[in-house]
Amino acid sequence: MSGEVKDMGLLKRLVLSPWRTDEKARMDRGRLTLLLFMAVLVVIIIFSSYIRVPIQTVLIILAVVIMVIGRAKVQDLMAGLILHPIMAMTAGFLIAGALGLAGGFDVLIKGLAWLAEVEIVPGLPLLGWVGVAVILANIPTIMPMPCGRILAAALMLGVFLFAAALAAAYGLDMESNEASVMISALVAGFIVNAAASCGPSTLGGIGGIGEGNLGLPIGRSARAQSAGILIATGICTLVIALVVQPVGG
């Protein structure tokens, strides 16, 4: 077999590499996939004015072709870290889209509004709208995912809608500066909380990476980080509300 491979031309070796089993086949498959990837990118750049296919579609098709040539399985790709952040964000956006289409956000707002009006005794609400806002903004760190983008992307619209409902509950006009500041403050607090939430996650994420590099057991710093994020969320909300003025304000 190796004698036959030596006699082949370079082009034939590369083209036949997906079906070869000799010791040099893996390297040739690597060359073929790299060439294919670069060629597609060059074609897209050169003919960008004429090609109207979205780049995502091209890249997904290319990824499938490379997987077939390289004999890679989906599990092989998912097990590595390379695809993790973008997959996390994609998963979050897909969940957000699915929730939006299925009416999940409407149910979420109704549920949160009900929670805000739960009373200990008649006329004395337990949490009120602000208490529910505190819980909602801190959900990403209460349930830390390996990437903050998962919950950030999935719940961002829900937080925005809740903030608008909060402003309406306080009788503010949606066009007013007060309502804009209130919405900005709550959404910014949620963003900070979500962005930091992969720190305390014991499922992986930046906290796990740091602990691994320090040789600490996974989760050693999780609670310390959670307490810090809890305070930071409040500080961010306060700073946005006091310092940042809405556009045009």
């Binding site: 609400p125 337990l126 949490l127 009120g128 709208w129 602000v130 208490g131 529910v132 806002a133 505190v134 819980i135 903004a137 801190n138 760190t141 209460i142 349930m143 909060l166 306080y170 007060e178 209130m182 403050a185 709550l186 607090g189 609670r223 959670s226 307490a227 810090g228 809890l230 305070i231 969320t233 409040g234 500080i235 909300t237 306060l238 946005i240 509300a241 006091l242």
Partner: protein, 51 residues
């Protein structure tokens, strides 16, 4: 983790939650010590401690 450390940790979370709730109260136009924000912060603190 021994019981004293756990208690200290719980206190830290309760203080952090209370601070967070107070800041939310101010940011969202309420009085600093209004019950809603403080209760929300305490619930969040206990949840983070427990989980």
């Amino acid at each position: 983790m021994d019981i004293v450390t756990r208690m200290l940790l719980l206190i830290i979370f309760l203080v952090a939650g209370t601070l967070c709730g107070m800041m939310f109260n101010i940011a969202l136009g309420r009085k600093p010590f209004e019950r809603g924000g403080i209760m929300g912060g305490i619930i969040v603190g206990v949840a983070m401690f427990a989980i």
